[in-house]
């Protein structure tokens, strides 16, 4: 394990300080040049901003969705097995493949989203929402062809994929709340929304945070969703750090520069990890 993760990891750090190009294992030491050069590039700064937006927005959706869904899925009802199967589908399906499904959903000519919007006479409203000019029922929005819409599409697809995972972790958290707490709440007269707000949610908080932090780690390092949906386009407007590192490191062959770009993920991951350990420990204590 030290070999397969440790070596590449430190090698990535080493490469990021060199001018290595494709086809060679090492290069000349260039110090922090790769890191400072990366900042000079407008596309890089956009990739950093997009990574933050992409991660935070999709996790916000996931958090709300998972909180609602998990509290319902712990109840008993008829057909629960089937509902759980449907809910878990996006997480179980290979991400590269299900993203192709979304590519078809957002197709430029035969998008089912646009067809439905048209039937509901909502095309105009959506165009107005995204500030698209000259678009309407005759000329429906190009979801993956406009920068702000493409970013929204990427966020939706990622939230869709992470949500089932968060639901699973949330359910685990709910299951770990001892039944005595329920009984005590009942005796104290807490029911329904009151119980949810004062009893269940606070108890769920630590594990919910763990789920979100996991989600952040998965999302910040996500490559397949963005690459397959938009390849970072249109005009690099949806580049995130992993896709930009791929673009620079593999497609343009500047290995050292690419390694430096992907290493910019580290500070974000480090902060998240510290939080995660902190909350895992707190959950352990209580």
């Amino acid at each position: 394990m030290v070999l397969v993760v440790g070596v590449p990891f430190f090698w990535a750090i080493y490469l990021s300080f060199t001018d290595a190009v494709g086809g060679s294992l090492s290069g000349n030491w260039v110090g922090f040049d790769n890191f400072t050069n990366a900042w000079q590039d407008e596309n890089f700064r956009r990739a950093v901003r997009n990574t933050l937006i992409f991660t935070l927005a999709s996790q916000a959706i996931v958090l709300v969705g998972a909180a609602v869904l998990s509290n319902l899925l712990v109840r008993d009802f008829r057909g629960k097995w089937f509902v759980r199967f449907l809910v878990i589908l996006p997480w179980a399906a290979p991400v590269a493949l299900s993203t192709i499904g979304w590519l078809w959903i957002f197709d430029s000519l035969f998008s089912v989203v646009n067809w439905t919007l048209k039937e509901l006479h909502l095309v105009g409203a959506v165009c107005w929402m995204f500030g698209v000019e000259g678009c309407g029922a005759v000329n429906p929005p190009q979801w993956l062809g406009r920068s702000n819409m493409a970013l929204v599409a990427v966020i939706i697809v990622n939230a869709w994929r992470i949500l089932p995972f968060a639901v699973v972790i949330f359910i685990a958290g709910l299951a770990s709340i001892p039944t005595e707490v329920d009984d005590a709440a009942k005796i104290d007269g807490a029911t329904g929304v009151k119980k949810l707000w004062y009893v269940t949610l606070p108890l769920q908080l630590p594990i919910a945070l763990v789920a979100v932090l996991f989600g952040i780690v998965f999302t910040a390092g996500e490559f397949a969703v963005v690459y397959i949906l938009t390849q970072g386009g249109p005009f690099n407007s949806t580049q995130v750090l992993p896709t930009w590192a791929f673009q620079v490191g593999i497609n343009s062959g500047s290995l050292g520069q690419g390694a430096a770009i992907s290493l910019y993920l580290l500070p974000l991951l480090a902060v998240v990890t510290v939080f995660m350990l902190f909350f895992a420990r707190r959950a352990q204590v209580s």
Binding site: V4, L25, L89, E222, L255, L269, A283
Partner: protein, 287 residues
Amino acid sequence: MASLRAGLRSLPTYLVVAPFAIVLAFPFYWMLMTMFKEDSDLYDVTHVPYVFNPIQWRFWESATTKHVSFIFEETNYPTWLLNTAIVGGLVVLITLVISAPAGYALARLSGRWGQGVGIAIFLVYLVPPTLLFLPLSRLVTELHLKDTLWSLILVYPSFTIPFSTWLLMGFFKTIPQELEDAALIDGCSRLKALRKIVFPVSLPGLLTVVIFTFTLCVNEFIYAFTFVSSSEVRTVSAGVPNDLIRGDVFFWQSLMAATLIPAIPLALLYNAFLDRFIKGFTGGAFR
């Protein structure tokens, strides 16, 4: 009457759960419809896209299976499925051989040290492949493994082992030490106690690890995408987006068939093992 009343009581639950389930599962319904459609039905904006056209009660008469058989007969799709199975199978084997003893040792190691190593393994799992793929792709080339399944078989354990060790640690912690002690007192050797007592009890845990390791391998994209470039050695995750999409020509029916087919068995397995997964996951982290 009683069941009707029970159904009514869960009506609010259904009302909230149903939209979620529909939105989450919709892309898969969409794949299912698309894969059986005729070209003349699919590429006509006047048609209702949610059903087969022309609309009729015997809806299968408006559908076709020719696009599904196309990917099995005319493309490398069967090879990709086979490659995925080979990679997944071997990685599962490697993962089990290493992470089962490691997880057991970590679960039995008490005190600061064991906990520290446990956390370290957890941290390794958090390093995303997107951070490692650049140096690893160089390494793979140097070892002359580029364009072989071996590159994937050797690299995938880097994320499956930490994950599995973490899960198994949780499972082993739930097996009481007293059970082993009793076997030792009854005259079992340490190894025999492991084989006869610990192994059977942890079988569900091991099976869960097998399932999740396998699905992680099927899911993996960036390594499979960068290490392998010939079509015949690709896995499904890399093969379908690369080789079934040619330039700007999308054969949507075939594509959708190719994406849906691996998803269904994986989802069924996931669902069957979900409860065990939850137990193992939280057992490792919150105990």
